[in-house]
Structure formats: C-alpha cells, structure tokens
Homo-oligomer: 491 residues x 2
C-alpha cells in the first residue's frame, strides 16, 4: 500500500502509523451504552465511527476482535460516585427488576444498531456478568497499594498513584488543578480525596443490584468494568481503545490508572475519540435533557424535527463529518444529508445501465487511490464521500454521453462504489442490493413497458395516465436517449 | 371468563387450573439454547411453544416476567459430566475466544427468533454472567449436606438427597433402577456414585473458561445455572418452568433437587414440556447429527429439503400440532403448512373488502368463545387454527354471497383474526400489516385500474397483456363480482 494507515492517538496528541502489537490480529475495545434509556444521536456517533474503523481494518486484512460493552450496573447519576445507579433508578420508577430494564433497552439498542447498519461487535460483555473479574482487579490494585478500603467500599488513591505515574496523561489535566477545583460533596467523607474514585461501592440496604465480596455486599465502580473486561478479552495491553470524547475524563483517564496500578502496563497503544454532536453548540446528552432519540429521528415524532429521517440518512450525516470534528444537528443539515445520500444511491443504481465505450476519458484507478489515501489519513470519511461524489458526476456525465469508460473501467467503478460506499462506509445495506430485484421493480418494469407500447401506438392519453399515476405515488419517469429512467421523488 | 385456564403439569401428570402464586404477576423460566451452533428446528419448537404461552398469558392480563437463559458455559459434550465444554470445543476448533463463539451464535439465534416472530423474553441471563450466584447456591447445598467436595470439584449427592426427598419425582424415574443401569465411566472416580452430578468442575489446565472459587479454578455444572438464575430473577419458587421434554431428565430433575437442597422448596409450581420434533420417528438433535438448521429451512439449501420454507411457514407448522404431541418433519407436511398459512392470510386480506349485510347468518361470537376455550385447554393451538379455518370458509362464503354478516359482525371477525392469528399465535408479523400499504400494493393498484379501464373500453388485447405480464411474475388476477382480486401464485 502506498500510504500507511495513520491514526490520531489522543495519548500522544499526534497522528501515528498504525502498527498493531500482534499482527494480523487487532484488539479494539469501545465503550458501549449504559442501557437505561433509548439510544440517541449522541450514541449513534461512536457506534458508527468505530463501525467504520472495524470495517476498514477488516478490509485491510486484519483479524479484528472488537469488544463493545453493555454497562448494566455501576453507572451512578453523579460522576463523583454519588447518586443512584442509573439502571436501578429506572427500574424503581418502572417497578420492574433492573435486568428487565437492561434487557428492554439492550434489545432496542441492538435494533437501532441494525437499522444503522452497524455490525455486531465480536464480543459484547456486560458489566454485571464480570463481577469476579472486577473483584480480581481490585485485589491487584489493593496489592499495589494504590487503593484503600473505607467503610466497605474501595477507592482508588489518585494522589498516591500520581506520585509514581501521571494521572492526567490522557486528558492533559493536572492533578494540582483538579485538587483545587474539586468541590467537597456531602457523604464523600469515606474518600481521602474528593477526586478519588470508587472501585467497589457498598450497597445501601434498598439497593437490589448487589453481589457479595471480600469488602461488602455491593457493586463495582463504573470505570472498573471497562478495565476488567478489556483485559479479560483482549489482554492487559491491546491495540485500540475507543469512545466518545466525553469519556476522556474521568472514565478513560481512570482506566489507564487502574491498568497501570493492577498490571504495571498501559491498557491500550492507541486511544481514539470521536467528537460530540451538538445542538446549537451544546453537547447532546441524556443528562442535559436536549437529546433526540434515534427512534424519534426514524419516526419524525419530536418537536425539534420537521420530518422523519431514515437510519441511512443519519449514518450518512455522521460519516459526512470527520469523527474528530464536532457535528451540529439541524434539520437543514439532515435534509442536505438525505439529498446527498439519495444522489449517491441514484448514481450507484445507474452504473449497471451505463453503456461501455472503447476508450476511457476518466481515471478510475486514480479515484480508488484517493479513497484509500483518505481512509489511511485517520479514517477521513468526508473525504471519501467527496471522492464518491466526483464519481457521481462522472456517472451522470457518462450517462449524458459527455464522458466515456470502457467495460473494464465501468466494472472497476462499480467495484469502487460497492467497496467504499458499501463494504467500508456501510451506506448500502445488503437488503437494498437484494430489493433492487424485488417485486416493486418488476411491477414498475411492467408499467414502464406498457407506457412505451402506448407511446409507440400514439396512445398518449394512456401513456400520460401511467406517468401521472406513478407521479401520484412519488415515482418520477424521465425519458432520456438511453431509455426511460425513474427515481423516487424528493420531498 | 367461562373456562379457567388449564395447563398440563408434568409434575402431577394432570391438567390443573392455572393459579399463579402472586397474581397478576407470573414468573416463567424456560431453558434457552447452548450457543455453539446454529439453531435448528428442534430449537424452534420450545421457543415458539413458550412464545405462545407468553403471548396468551399477557393477553389474559397477567404481568409476565419471562426469563429465558443463554447457556454459554458448563454444558459438556457428555451428560455424565465428562467430555469437553461444547463452546470451548467449538472455540478451539475455530481458533477464537469462546466468547466470540457465544456472541456469534447468540446474534444468529436472536435473528432467527425475530424471523420466527418470537418475542424477546423479559430477561435473557447468561450462565457465565452468574458465576457468583451459582457459587452461592453451591454453598447452600453444601451446608445442607447434600453435596461433597472431591478433588476441587463439587458433586451433588443424589443418594443422600433421595433419603430425604424424591429424586425422580418429575421424570418418574426410580433411583434404584438408575443405580443398576448406570455405567461406571472412566475418570469418574471423583464421584461417590456415577449418577451424582457436578455443581462445580475443577478446570483442566488447558480449559480457558474458568473462574476462581473456594474449591478450585473452574466452572459451574450445567444443571446449576438454571437453578441459580431462575431464583435470582423469579425468586425461590415461581409459577412456570418450561423446556423441551428431552430436558426432563436429568436437567430438570436435578434442578428440583438443587432447589430443594438449597432452599427447602420446589422451584416451580407448574412444569410444562414441549414434545420433540422427529425425522422418520427419531428425535432431531445436534448430537444425533440429523438436524436441519432454521437457516437451512429459510434458504432451502439442505439435501433433505425439496424447497425453501419461510419462517412463518415453520411457525405455522409447529403451532398446527399441540405442543405435547410429537411432530414429524417431512417436506409434505411443511408444504401443507405453507398452503394452509397462505389460505389463512389470503382470507384475512379479504375481510376489509367484504360487503356488510343487514343481517348475520353466522355466529361470530360463538367462534370467539371456541377459540378461547381451545387456548384455555392447555394452549391448544391446533384447535384454534381449526376454528380460524372455519372463519376462512365463512369469509369465502360471504365473498360468494352465500352467507352474510353485518358491519358490526365483520368488525368482530376482523378483530378475532387480528387477536388469535396475529397477537396470540403470532402468525401476522407487524411488517406484513404495514407492507399491505407498501409500494408494491400501490403499483399493483395502478395496474389493476389500467386493466379495468382497458376492459371498459373493450381493449381486450391491453387488458390481457396486463394480466399475462402479472402472471409472469407470479401474481394471479381473478375477476369476481366484487371486483378484481389478486393473489401470489403458489408453486
């Protein structure tokens, strides 16, 4: 390959050549959802970002073990280890068992991921299913002297850790600043310092999500699950750790500290973070109350939405921005994405009907190289999409007889679309490809052929009737010198 | 309700009135799949049987917590606690981490369940996620004196248990017979008696699915997971325990023994068992090597299949037999099911187009009562289907003007179909109802209307052309006095 794959590593704040620890194997861990509510647009972004990375690494021939967890216990309302467990609270409000909440929202998350054409990870471990591994890691951290037991709970001793290592190396924060800025909260007198974080929390009597342990009947801290599960399935040091930028601190910073204290090694070689989705410049988040769920987008049933948007429009909208840029939500931007995706797929549909020429006037191989170069530059999906739109212009120009490609090059172009728009960007779901041969197409062919026969026998009343009937249901026919073309009308 | 719900309880070998322990709540536990291969027809039967029961209990107004587990550890090749773990073996052969095998086949199982229109259970716990609960239950059984530690493994002491309770009460087996019939296998010298079963197995050095415990680094026995997880999510005694009849002994028998020993109470009030699917009279099973996977059925790609069968055909085939009867697989039986389901859905599609009369000549309310009576008689789905076919005959007779129903009664009939064929038997997936408004239907309407106009203007060449074009793609038009009807041609 001409260009090596470069990835932006948050840890070094630079683009680095991607060199996996144990090629051709790649281990990738990405923080998944806390399943106490429906996934919103802010959940779609990391899922689609790391789906792109998963797909591209596999395309390059790596054997990727992709682990994305389900947080079903231990994520408290307040990041400072206080407040109720998010899932336990939802379960209390709904008067059900917490695991029913977990199952319900996990099923809905999976369904959303399927709609967005996000591939299943190789392993999807649940925090509640790995209490033993988490307790084992607490033992190791206690042995290293960087945690302490307090009233049945166990806390990570950030100050002690920082004497030997650097708490803040990922997020760039400085412990002294943290110390002076941290409020002392009520009920935190168990901690030596307010920025210490819980590895194990003793459960209050009413807390039903609890497990026995050496320290108390309780539950693990939120940061710990990712450290324990990534080590369990990918080893103490693996290649890529990903997640949203909002998880950088304290979650990922604390993961590094836990792994260093327990194993004496950094958990991941490359840390990749997707940026946030904003609404009017503010982060979209469940805790901020300004979120729009994916199901809202698909149904259009939300006061901030002027219409429904298909899952593929959402996917395209997200991939149109580089994953490290912020992405601002607006109806206008989504409508533009909808039109853009439609143009892309319409052109893709046209390729099989293009007439081959004896000569080529366009450089297909060159375009392919550009697409790879874009992906190798830290997964630059907007650049790939720009190149695909160049191909769209080519397709239309060939269709109009203004440019030419040989049969061989047309096949290459088809392959380029299938590979980049389909396999890697995931914008062409398998069903679309199948349904192109479906019943609707066959019926439409009959109608178009009837209309042609009516025109041939100068029965224009009949041919107009067919055209108008189709227009009524949103299908536009266009007569070109290459025959009749049709497209679904844009609103 | 006129008739109370009767369920056949394997424990009492009789039909009993269903009286839940804590109405309106119902707790139901059903043994799910061991995820080391694709689901076959033998897996579809318990899934669909208990889906019917889940749907009907919810229809009756019960709040059902339905727990169906995923066995991802501890199920050894040999029921007598020997041989390799089924999942670990598959992982070794495929050179992947066992949890990758689990994730892959769990995803495919879920996808099959969705195709079969089987609702998600309320909670779907995994054995590997409940090691602590299983270890806790072993402690309780050891305390009761009905288990013993041997070389790092823990075994249930069946003989000792049988002195106080009755090992064999569910399956009707007699311990003395078991004792004389059980082969002594090599490597079983850890056990006091060959019919003792493992609660905890010490892991061999090469066994990678292992957890620390008080007894050894090892893994739980297969029978234990269901006891521990049902108690965790449904309490020590719950309403319904279900599964295939092949699980009756030793799995369910051992579950009863474990619960009695640990909690001093029976786990479930009602034990429900579906019968087996047979091929030429022999049970279909993965271990027997005569299984046909669900994906094979859906694709038709198997030497024993003469064609592909849709998921709904499989569902209908299974519901056409009572769950306690054996069901023999054959292509002829499946083809008959395909035709039957088609007749049912064709009639259902006709209802909105039936003309209401001033009088009714048929007793719709009576048919509804019969459907409830059938379901209340131990979920007699074949009887419900027979009643629905009575309704099919009515619909055709009304269509032919030979019988009459008022608008009110037509609405009742529509409701009866929606409720029994749709909501309870699950034979009408939500998408079918939607796609009736889909693009294909609109295109077909245009074609039918064009044909009517051609006939009206005596242009029979044009009208025949439309009819023949549709016939070519498998759509048959039929002129009736109520207008044009269409149906998808049967092969």
């Amino acid at each position: 390959m001409e260009h090596p794959l470069l990835v932006y590593n948050t840890l070094t704040r630079s683009k680095q050549v991607f060199e996996p620890l144990n090629p051709p194997h790649v281990g990738m861990y990405v923080c998944g959802p806390t399943v106490y509510g429906d996934a919103h647009l802010g959940h779609a972004r990391p899922a689609i970002t790391f789906d792109l990375i998963f797909r591209y690494l596999k395309h390059l021939g790596y054997k990727v073990r992709y682990v994305r967890n389900i947080t079903d216990v231990g994520h408290l309302e307040d990041d400072a280890d206080e407040g109720e467990d998010k899932i336990a609270k939802k379960a209390r409000l709904e008067q059900v068992e917490p695991m029913e909440v977990v199952q319900y929202f996990t099923d809905r998350y999976h369904s959303n991921m399927q709609q967005l054409n996000v591939l299943s990870p190789s392993i999807e471990p649940r925090a509640s299913g790995h209490i033993i591994e988490q307790a084992g890691m607490i033992d190791d951290i206690l042995k290293s002297g960087m945690a302490y037991v307090s009233n049945g709970s166990v806390y990570f001793d950030v100050e002690k850790y920082n004497q030997q290592y650097h708490y803040g190396k990922l997020s760039g924060r400085v412990l002294e600043d943290l110390m002076s800025n941290t409020r002392t909260l009520e009920g935190q007198d168990e901690k030596r310092n307010p920025f210490d974080f819980a590895l194990w929390k003793k459960a209050q009597p009413e807390h039903i999500m609890r497990w026995p342990s050496r320290w108390s009947d309780g539950f693990p801290g939120w940061h710990l699950e990712c450290s324990a599960m990534s080590a369990r399935y990918l080893g103490n040091t693996f290649d890529i750790h990903g997640g949203g930028m909002d998880l950088l601190f304290p979650h990922h910073e604390s993961e590094i500290a836990q792994s260093m204290a327990a194993h004496g090694s950094e958990p991941a070689k490359y840390w990749l973070h997707n940026n946030m989705i904003t609404i009017n410049g503010q982060k979209m988040g469940k805790s901020l109350g300004n979120f729009i769920t994916l199901n809202d987008f698909f149904s259009g049933d939300h006061t901030s939405l002027t219409q429904a948007y298909s899952p593929m429009t959402i996917r395209f909208f997200i991939l149109q921005a580089h994953y490290r840029s912020t992405l601002d939500f607006s109806n206008e931007a989504l409508q533009a994405a909808e039109k853009g995706l439609d143009r892309l797929l319409t052109a893709w549909n046209k390729i099989p009907r293009l007439k081959p020429s004896k000569q080529s006037t366009l450089e297909v191989e060159d375009l392919e190289k550009k697409c790879y170069a874009a992906l190798n530059d830290d997964f630059n999906s907007p650049m790939v999409i720009a190149h695909l739109f160049e191909a769209v212009r080519w397709i239309n120009a060939i269709n109009d007889g203004k440019e030419q490609l040989t049969a061989n090059h047309l096949e290459l172009l088809q392959g380029l679309f299938n590979r980049f728009a389909g396999e890697i960007l995931g914008l062409i779901p398998a069903e679309t490809a199948d349904s192109a041969e479906g019943l609707s197409d066959k019926l439409l062919e009959i109608l178009i052929s009837l209309r042609q026969q009516a025109r041939a026998s100068k029965n224009f009343a009949a041919s107009d009737l067919i055209r108008d009937s189709l227009k009524n249901i949103g299908i536009l026919l266009r007569d070109t010198k290459n025959g009749v073309e049709w497209e679904i009308e844009e609103d």
